[in-house]
């Protein structure tokens, strides 16, 4: 028979003074969602193990020496969490400034909104502040890697690696500010282990990885999300039954994603499902 899920205990957590009840094992972020709090996140991915690298989701946990990343820290019974304390806001502000001053966040959803909300000023570090600016890597016809937009969230590496695709075409190389996402010896993708599943593109939170169609349309100024529709259908390339969400602009498919909560794909596709739409 179908095994039952192990029973989950419920625990009470205090979020900004309000008590919420969540299953044991939930993160603070889960508890915040239950309490209706909107915590900014960048490196968090709903299909991936939290990496808590960006630190934009930090909250203040009573009794803790440092701030805690909401995305990965497990909620504990009786924990008192402040999501909007001066210290947490200040850290988020500076983290947004540090990111905004070093990375091109122009295509990061909600980034501009948060910069305003937290009164962040990325320009304060001056014109000479070091950035990760570099030319976009366009080495194949399917997707583009524009690492001047990369915040080093590790999500692409996790999606390519042991969490989903298990292809391991890319890794994190170097150290410190010079850390990059890289193939071995920085080889072009076409000479790497990449199988073009695009599952890295699916999880990229900033647009550093994008469909070549999107990259080109943005370059020529025709990319317009307000004119796009999203329709979820089923891939026709094999019998597995992967769910595709087709992003259509002017009756053309401009991008393909997959629902992250789908039992078949969990947000993942292969090269045919993701990019093989050219014939329609």
């Amino acid at each position: 028979m179908i095994p039952l899920q192990p029973p989950r205990r419920l625990i009470d957590v205090e979020i900004d003074g309000e008590t919420v009840r969540v299953p044991e094992g939930s993160t603070i972020l889960d508890a915040c969602a239950a309490a209706g709090k909107d915590i900014p996140t960048l490196c968090y991915g709903d299909t991936l193990t939290p990496k808590n690298a960006c630190r934009v989701c930090v909250v203040e946990v009573e009794g803790a020496r440092t701030l805690a990343p909401a995305c990965s820290r497990k909620a504990e019974k009786g924990m008192k969490v402040g999501t909007d304390t001066e210290r947490a806001r200040q850290s988020r502000k500076v983290v947004l400034e540090l990111l905004g001053s070093s990375v091109d966040m122009s295509t990061t959803p909600r980034a501009a909104e948060w910069v305003e909300e937290y009164d962040a000023d990325p320009a304060r570090f001056g014109d000479d502040a070091a950035t990760v600016e570099q030319p976009a890597k366009v080495d194949n016809e399917l997707y583009v890697r524009d690492y001047s937009k990369c915040i080093m969230c590790y999500k692409c590496v996790d999606a390519c690696g042991d969490q989903w695709q298990n292809t391991f075409a890319i890794g994190v190389a170097g150290r410190g500010f010079d850390t990059t996402i890289s193939t071995e010896f920085d080889a072009p993708l076409t000479d790497s282990a990449c199988v073009y599943c695009g599952n890295c593109v699916e999880v990229c939170p900033t647009g550093a990885l994008s469909f070549k169609t999107e990259f080109d349309m943005r370059a020529e100024g025709t990319w317009d999300e307000s004119k796009q529709t999203e329709t979820t259908t089923i891939c026709s390339y094999c019998g597995v039954g992967c769910n595709l969400t087709l992003h259509v602009q002017d009756n053309k498919i401009v991008k393909v994603t997959s629902p992250h909560d789908n039992p078949v794909t969990k947000g993942n596709l292969c090269v045919k499902g993701r990019f093989g739409y050219g014939y329609v």
Binding site: N52, R55, Q90, L98, S102, G171, V172, A173, G176
Partner: protein, 601 residues
């Protein structure tokens, strides 16, 4: 795994270096030649990711750099994706992925050496060898601060050679010493030249009443018999009498706290690990001593290596570990050689391995070398490094006692902490607690730099009276780059005392700054150190350390209040929101210099 390779082939030498470590390949699928049987069935290779760092060392030691062919061969042997192995190899400063000369000189330009004229050595090297980057590098602290300024040349070969220049002078730095012949005919893993006797680092050597330093300079560090004649292995015998729970009780009652900087009670850590139902348990000795100005662990390992082996055995016995890893920083060739010898001889005498001393204890130690990454001294980064991952800290919780090395309960202690267990068991917890010893690494503007052992409670002034000072003491950097500057010499050198003074004992660094030192350039060096050693994982540290250094550059040219505010905000965010201690402390010294020394007033 269906790995994809780009087809680069290893040279014979590279292949031999890897095979010497791993043995010959088992099948065609992991790098051997194709046999008929290989084409009919294949079993999954045993997971051996943790051999990645040793394999990279093997190639780097023999050839001097890691070519794509060598990396691919390592990946085939260990079933590791090349992109991941590349990411690991590029994490460590001692590895090069580009061809370079076999001999590479590392010139320390860090705090203690800077205070002792490293700049003139550096300039001479630059004149002689050209710009830094291939045949020589500027190095973070080499842990030879008592002989500052220091340099270390590493030359690939069979065996590799390490030549120490300490103190280095502009005249000697360009000379190469002939490696001494091996004394017993065997090939050591590394030949070390240019070293000085161990006792030179211990001004108190031979004095009565020392607990931790008593054997250094008086006992042959290569002789197990000498060690036993000097009281060695009485503590382990005592431990067997007490039983594991009894050992933990003694350590708890002794009040011993970790000497790595965080000052967590060692007994509690051991107790928590021992109680974990998940198995196996691991012991990790953190000998990745890299905090600028720190060299006490090196001195212990070089001068009294068996003490560490014995202490690890006791820790393993108490906490139920069958396997211990001793992770020594890569820039400590003599410590590596001494401990390799100590472990091998202890094993030969039944003091490691199965049924130690006939008491049924099974325990062995595997020595691992770091490869030039300060962050690997962080207690969870060290796990990742041993496992063959990038040495990035993990987020806590879960804590190591619960999920540590290979995801198993792990007790991780640094060298000084562990060797304190010997006098605790020899003397009993109460006698130990009555006169608890602490080691200090005294360097900078002093007459007799070196490792000093004092009883907790002595003041900074008493320590400096022992070492003597030179020039006019302006400030003392306590605790290293992650510590703070103090000017009050009467603060008691205890965890509480230093904390009350807004500083930290940290790793026991006492770097004396006289008025001849350029504080601004010292701060810049600190900022550069953190920027250089940040692993890059979290934003506050990765970008924050860069912004801190940039602001300090601006401030050393022109003091600007906005930049001071900026430094403070960035510093506070690094402290509040970084994943690990590196980012959390990267602003400490700068903050104290601004607030207490008025450096940018």
């Amino acid at each position: 795994m269906d790995l994809r390779f780009r087809g680069a082939e290893p040279s014979e030498e590279e292949r031999a270096a890897v095979d010497a470590l791993l043995g010959p390949p088992a099948s065609a699928w992991d790098g051997g030649s194709r046999t008929e049987a290989d084409l009919r069935f294949a079993a999954r290779a045993e997971a051996a990711r943790d051999q990645l760092l040793p394999a990279l060392h093997a190639v780097n030691d023999r050839v001097g750099w890691i070519s794509e062919g060598a990396l691919e061969y390592i990946c085939r042997r260990l079933t590791i994706p090349p992109a991941e192995a590349y990411g690991v190899a590029t994490f460590y400063a001692l590895f090069s992925m580009k061809e370079r000369p076999k001999r590479v000189l590392h010139v320390c330009t860090d705090l203690a050496c800077q205070a002792k004229g490293a700049e003139s050595v550096r300039r001479r090297v630059e004149d002689h060898f050209g710009p830094a980057g291939t045949s020589w590098h500027e190095s973070p602290c080499l842990g030879m601060c008592e002989r500052a300024p220091a340099a270390l040349a590493l030359e690939a070969g069979t065996p590799p050679v390490a030549q120490v220049y300490a103190p280095a002078t502009p005249d000697t730095i360009t000379t190469m010493a002939e490696a001494p012949p091996s004394s017993n005919g065997s090939t050591p893993s590394v030949k070390v030249t240019g070293e000085t006797p161990e006792r030179a680092a211990v001004p108190q050597a031979g004095q009565d009443g020392l607990l931790l330093l008593r054997r250094i300079g008086t006992v042959d560090p290569a002789s197990l018999d000498d060690y036993r004649a000097a009281g060695g292995y009485t503590a382990l015998r005592r431990a067997f009498d007490l039983g594991p729970a009894g050992v933990i009780r003694e350590v708890l009652e002794s009040g011993l706290v970790g000497r790595g900087g965080a000052a967590f009670p060692t007994g509690r850590k051991w107790d928590a690990t021992a109680r974990q139902p998940d198995h196996p348990h691991y012991l990790v000795c953190n000998a990745d001593e890299s905090e600028p100005g720190t060299f006490k662990d090196r001195v212990i390992m070089e001068g009294d290596p068996y003490a560490l082996v014995e202490a690890m055995t006791i820790a393993a016995y108490a906490t139920g570990c069958a396997k211990g890893y001793l992770y020594i920083r890569g820039e400590y060739p003599r410590a590596v050689a001494r401990l390799q010898h100590a472990i091998a001889t202890a094993r030969a005498r039944g003091l490691l391995g199965d049924d130690i001393l006939g008491k049924g204890l099974s325990f062995d130690i595997e020595l691992r070398r770091g490869a030039g990454a300060y962050i690997c001294g962080e207690e969870t980064a060290i796990f990742n490094s041993i496992e063959g991952q990038r040495g990035e800290p993990r987020s806590k919780p879960p804590f190591p006692v619960e999920k540590g090395l290979f995801g198993k309960p792990t007790v991780v202690n640094n060298v000084e902490t562990l060797v304190n267990v010997l006098p605790i068991l020899e003397r009993g917890a109460q006698a130990y607690a009555a006169a608890e010893p602490k080691l200090f690494c005294v360097s900078g503007a002093v007459e007799r730099p070196g490792v000093y052992e004092l009883t907790f409670g002595a003041t900074l002034r008493e320590l400096l009276d022992l070492s003597g000072t030179t020039g006019t003491t302006r400030a003392v950097l306590l605790g290293g780059a992650a510590g703070a500057f103090v000017t009050d010499l009467d603060i008691p050198l205890t965890f509480e005392g230093t904390r009350a003074a807004g500083a930290t004992l940290g790793s026991g660094v006492v770097l004396v700054i006289d008025d001849g030192v350029d504080l601004k350039s010292l701060l810049l060096r600190i900022a550069e150190f953190f920027r250089d050693e940040s692993c890059g994982q979290c934003v506050p540290c990765r970008v924050g350390t860069v912004r801190q250094e940039e602001a300090l550059h601006r401030l050393s040219r022109r003091v600007d209040d906005d930049d001071l505010v900026l430094l403070r905000e960035v510093g506070q965010t690094m402290r509040d929101a970084s994943i690990c201690g590196l980012g959390q402390t990267a602003w400490n010294a700068v903050e104290s210099a601004i607030d207490r020394l008025g450096v940018f007033r």
